[in-house]
């Protein structure tokens, strides 16, 4: 009908399906009464599940991946891995949202619709190999998140966050687009592959190349919130509805990383000599700035915002390791794995942490101050312990999952012989532990402000359960997850182990 091949039909199915659900929710929302609004959440969740089902279908049908839409959409294992990640993030975020929106009395279908739409955008970012598609995806995601951030219309902090996010976001994507346009100019194509070929033939010190490179990187680094392009993040995270903060800190970030890897590794890897120095600087700056800033934060959301920036710094270290070593050298592979594993782990542990903070929101408590979480153990022991688990995971203490990410990053750094960077990372790991422990201290070793037990909604229980379980399992038995990462990178299943086990 549309001249779509069955393959392309399959490939776009997850997104289309999400889109249908989004619009459906928008319509149904008009019909259902106030107290039935939670149906929206159910609908959205079902949508996510269906979409995941479709992704699984793709995975089984095209194990080697497939390409469509005139070489713009490449659904390879890498993309599929990230799609699952986005859907997981979205699903958990939905579970977290129900009660929170009730309390905020902002229960509208748009919320879920926008959530799903942003996921569509992310999918495009992860799967696009054509800068046009990538850019569209980016904007789709960005615009929906602008709205989501400002969703609490009556809350000034929310408005302000949205406005700042929008202005800076638009600004950065403008610069980004400028870079992309130059790349188009350099290559005469919008397809990453051909851009890469064209660029690799040019002298890497050609000013145009460099300007294009830099402007593009501004966009990328802005989206993953790396210093000095990070400053939107703390404000947006603090102002946004907590569940959205969680969603942004994992899914949006993962999407940004997917885009970054697509462009810088799949596409412009020939230019790595050009951008790696910048990345080195940025990663160190990011770790330093974020950790120092987080050290004395008293607002939990803001603290976690800075911590997530710091985590970006760590991941960038792995990226440095990749950029400074030959493709398919151990350092490169482990760095790459490191980033993917880190994102996977991070999705669950950070969402978990934000889920706990979300559940602190009550009629009269905003719940994002350190004092609000004080004595949490006496009010909700299970949550407190889970929070401890998430915090330790964020600090990279085994057997929590976070350690796995740290492990790969340190390993890649050592393999690429960046011992000093490794040392710095260690140092900042200490910083991290310090401010995570501040939260832990508040939960376990301080008296609660108000005594009554914390009401935990069903959805929240589910969200916490999933995240905690994932954090623990990935930590204790990471084998299958590592294998899935290997699979997504098309790396042979641990070749050496066979020799080892004989």
């Amino acid at each position: 009908m549309l001249g779509l091949s069955s393959v392309e039909y399959r490939l776009m199915l997850p997104m289309v399906e999400l889109g249908i659900f989004a619009l459906g929710i928008l319509m149904i929302d008009l019909m259902i009464p106030r107290e039935w609004k939670w149906m929206n959440a159910v609908g959205a969740f079902v949508g996510v599940l269906f979409s995941a089902l479709c992704v699984f279908q793709i995975q089984t049908l095209f194990p080697r991946g497939a390409i469509g839409f005139s070489y713009s959409l490449l659904v390879d294992r890498f993309a599929i891995y990230f799609w699952y990640l986005f859907l997981a993030g979205a699903g958990i975020a939905i579970l977290m949202s129900v009660r929170y929106l009730d309390v905020e009395n902002e229960h509208h279908g748009e919320y879920y619709a926008l959530l799903l739409l942003s996921v569509i955008g992310m999918m495009c970012m992860a799967a696009g190999i054509d800068i046009v598609l990538i850019f569209i995806g980016l904007e789709l995601m960005a615009i929906s998140t602008y709205v989501l951030v400002g969703f609490l219309r009556r809350d000034r902090r929310s408005n302000e966050a949205a406005l700042k996010y929008l202005l800076l976001g638009a600004f950065s994507s403008g610069i980004f687009a400028y870079g992309l346009s130059l790349f188009y100019g350099l290559s005469g194509s919008t397809n990453l592959r051909s851009i890469a070929q064209a660029v690799s033939t040019r002298n890497p010190h050609d000013p145009v190349v460099i300007i294009a490179m830099l402007t593009t990187m501004v966009g990328l680094l802005f989206k993953i919130a790396a210093i000095p392009f990070h400053q939107w993040a703390p404000d947006a995270y603090e102002g946004a509805p907590t569940c959205i903060t969680g969603f942004m800190s994992v899914a949006v970030k993962a999407a940004a990383w997917a885009m970054l890897l697509r462009i810088l590794v799949f596409g412009l890897f020939p230019l790595r000599a050009v951008y790696t120095p910048v990345i080195v600087f940025v990663s160190i700056a990011t770790m330093t700035g974020a950790n120092f800033a987080a050290l004395t934060q008293t607002n939990t959301k803001r603290l976690l915002a800075y911590s997530s920036i710091a985590h970006v710094g760590y991941m960038l270290l792995a990226f440095v390791a990749m950029g400074t070593s030959a493709p398919n050298s151990p350092a490169f592979i482990d760095g790459f794995k490191g980033i993917l594993v880190y994102l996977l782990v991070y999705t669950f542990m950070n969402l978990g942490a934000f889920a706990v903070i979300t559940s602190l929101r009550n009629r009269n408590v905003i719940g994002d101050e350190l004092d609000d979480i004080a004595g949490l153990y006496s009010r909700a022991p299970v949550e407190a312990v889970l929070m401890l688990l998430f915090l330790l995971s964020l600090a990279g203490i085994p057997p929590a999952a976070g350690f796995l990410g740290k492990y790969y990053i340190f390993l890649s750094l050592i393999e690429s012989q960046h011992y000093w960077l490794a040392g710095a990372a260690v140092l900042y790991a200490l910083f991290g532990l310090y401010y995570y422990l501040k939260i832990a201290n508040a939960m376990f070793m301080r008296e609660a402000m108000e005594a009554e037990r914390l009401p935990i909604s069903l959805g929240m229980r589910a969200a916490l359960g999933v995240t905690a379980l994932a954090t623990l399992v990935i930590g204790v038995y990471p084998e299958p997850f590592i294998r899935s990462v290997n699979w997504s990178l098309g790396i042979a299943q641990t070749p050496h182990v066979a020799a080892m086990l004989k």
Binding site: G150, R154, L167, Y178, S181
Partner: protein, 102 residues
Amino acid sequence: MAEITTLHYLVVAAALFVLGVIGVLTRRNVVIVLMSIELILNAVNLNLVAFSRMWGNLHGQVFSVFIVVDAAAEAAVGLGILIAFFRNKETINVDEIDLLKW
């Protein structure tokens, strides 16, 4: 009279870009800031169109169309949010958006 080469377009576009950036950095009125951003995007469009003419393919123009749409959408959302903001705090002055900091 010399004919207009791609380079000229690029220079103009670059100028637009810089103007846009300066606008974003200096203007105090949120609406005008938004417009400056539009300026940047237009610079991009100009680039794309010029290049597509240079290469003689349509990719650039397609891209520019999308960017125009995107710019519109952004502006719409931006104004919406701005209105919400204005409701709560009777101002659209960028300097007074400083509740969230540190």
